[in-house]
């Protein structure tokens, strides 16, 4: 059974059709999905509910999802960013979080979310900025997954 089975996932995605697609993928992976399409909804959901994981589209129309990332980080919820621009599409202050290149693909989503579960949330201290939280996601590491030791 998938490690993602029954996990509560917050999905923040502002395009209706894309949100439907990503929601279906997460449901197929066995996740319980809460969808938020606007920043205010996403913040309200992140405050009101306990989540195991989150998928954050970076650009929410004219707003960005970083305040949600801050809130999730404060609450210890691991999250990844989804953007069509790869890592360049993410503010360097948030480079500790994994980045999923859009368009959404089920296999990529499953891999990243599974490792996020195993490796945990990026740390809160300033010192870990600029490097991925989860070394097993770094390209070139190949199949030898190495998780950072917990601080």
């Amino acid at each position: 059974m998938s490690a993602l089975q029954g996990r509560r996932v917050l999905l923040v995605e502002d395009e209706s059709l894309v949100a439907m697609l990503a929601e279906d993928m997460l449901l197929d992976l066995g996740c319980e999905v809460t969808v938020a399409m606007r920043l205010d909804q996403a913040l309200a959901q992140a405050r009101a509910q306990a989540f195991d994981l989150a998928v954050l589209d970076v650009n929410l129309g004219d707003a960005r999802s970083y305040p949600v990332a801050d809130l999730l980080r404060a609450r210890g919820v691991p999250f990844l960013f989804a953007t069509g621009y790869g890592r360049q599409g993410v503010d360097p202050a948030y480079h500790a979080a994994p980045v999923m290149q859009k368009p959404y693909q089920a296999a990529q989503l499953e891999t990243l979310l599974t490792h996020l579960l195993l490796c945990g949330a990026p740390g809160r201290d300033e010192g870990d900025r600029g490097r991925p939280a989860c070394r097993c996601l770094e390209p070139g590491d190949g199949p030898r997954f190495r998780a950072e030791p917990a601080p």
């Binding site: 502002d14 395009e15 209706s16 059709l17 949100a19 439907m20 969808v35 938020a36 399409m37 606007r38 920043l39 205010d40 909804q41 913040l43 650009n59 929410l60 129309g61 004219d62 707003a63 960005r64 999802s65 970083y66 305040p67 949600v68 801050d70 809130l71 980080r73 404060a74 503010d91 360097p92 202050a93 948030y94």
Partner: protein, 383 residues
């Protein structure tokens, strides 16, 4: 000089030396004006009643390549020095010049012209001309402010090229997606699914056409409606509602939603029989948060008896769930026996910047103790 600022002048010394004080003040006033004029980034020309330039500031000297002394020595209208030739090489006589043709009737008459630099190159300028009057209100000269607008012209041109490229790229990408789908699903899926897919992709493309018409800044509501219904229900939907400008996101999602309603009507509803028809009426109301509320009602009539669908498909999910989630408001589809009805209430996203509410009420969205330094705490994207 001990007395340079009138505010520091003691009344006693001023009383003793009234003429000296006036002289000092004049000198000081001129010094200040020169400091202002020579540090201004806008070029300023003072013209007499013969269109000769009697003063120009430092920015004007840099702009034209001529010094004030040189211009004074030429003893001719300024036009003959900086504006003598059209960009196509024809001579530009003074009497055709919009700036110099006459004294401006009103203050701050504006326009754009192309000047000739001393080295011969042409540059676009924006100008503002105002008359100078004597004590008898006679116009005795003109003051002209001039700005080099080369950068603005170049930026506008880059923007135009970028929008052309964007239009082309979006259309091409949608066509490519269609081609990939056609190749991928050839022989693996039934023709009905492919037809549905192609129609949805076309609807997405048409929704973008409405954006192209207004440089991607907004879309005409009427244009979105017409484009969404043209393919499936030409002439069979009675439209009634005022024009409005839609935010691009609203335009695309609404276009797709209307396409789904029309598709359903054509397959199962009123548009599946020749005598059926649809009424689409909408109005604009005052909504919450100073937003305009788009109230849109789709009503089918004259079709076969309607039964609620056994499962919720793509269309109803998009309309009833995604649309309210994306924009707020509400959406309901009712499957009454007389015909399908859909009620949409969409608070229209303000044009320009959707993050306005967040900026005006940042406290509501602030996360205590956590704010990243590299972005606005309200999460607003830089524009």
């Amino acid at each position: 000089m001990s007395v340079t600022d009138p505010r520091q002048t003691r009344p006693s010394s001023a009383a003793r030396l009234p003429s000296l004080r006036r002289g000092d003040q004049l000198f000081e006033t001129e010094r200040r004006l020169n400091a202002v004029l020579d540090n201004a980034s806008v070029s300023i020309f003072l013209m007499d009643d013969r269109q000769h330039c009697v003063y120009m500031n430092r920015a004007a000297e840099l702009l034209t390549g001529w010094t004030l002394d040189e211009v004074l020595a030429r003893d001719c209208p300024l036009h003959d020095i900086v504006h003598h030739t059209y960009p196509d090489g024809r001579p530009f006589p003074l009497h055709e010049c919009a700036i110099d043709r006459a004294f401006p009737e009103n203050n701050q008459e504006r326009g754009e012209e192309v000047f000739v630099h001393r080295d011969g190159h042409f540059y676009p300028v924006g100008f503002t001309a105002s008359p100078i009057r004597d004590d008898a209100a006679q116009v005795i000269g003109t003051i002209i402010e001039v700005r080099d607008i080369s950068e603005e012209k170049a930026a506008a041109e880059r923007q135009r090229l970028l929008i052309d490229e964007l239009n082309h790229r979006v259309k091409n990408t949608l066509s490519t997606v269609q081609a990939i789908a056609a190749q991928t699903f050839r022989g693996r899926t039934d023709g009905a699914a492919r037809t549905l897919f192609d129609a949805r992709l076309a609807a997405l493309s048409h929704a973008h056409d409405a954006l192209v018409a207004d440089n991607w800044e907004s879309a005409s509501l009427r244009g979105v409606v017409d484009r969404a219904l043209a393919a499936l229900a030409p002439g069979r939907v009675a439209l009634d509602g005022p024009e409005a400008r839609l935010h691009p996101k609203v335009a695309v999602t609404l276009g797709m939603a209307l396409h789904e309603l029309a598709t359903n009507a054509a397959q199962h509803g009123a548009l599946s029989v020749p005598e059926g028809w649809v009424s689409l009426r909408w109005s604009l109301r005052d909504g919450a948060d100073d937003r305009t509320l788009l109230a849109l009602d789709w009503q089918e009539a004259g079709g076969p008896a309607v039964a609620p669908p056994s499962r919720r498909g793509f269309g109803s999910r998009l309309v009833e769930r995604q649309l309210p989630m994306e924009f707020g408001g509400s959406a309901t589809i009712t499957y009454a026996p007389g015909g399908v009805a859909c009620t949409l209430r969409i608070p229209l996203t303000p044009l320009g910047w959707a993050g306005q509410a967040l900026v005006q009420d940042p406290q509501e969205h602030a996360v205590p103790g956590h704010s990243a330094p590299d972005h606005a705490p309200d999460g607003r994207a830089p524009r």
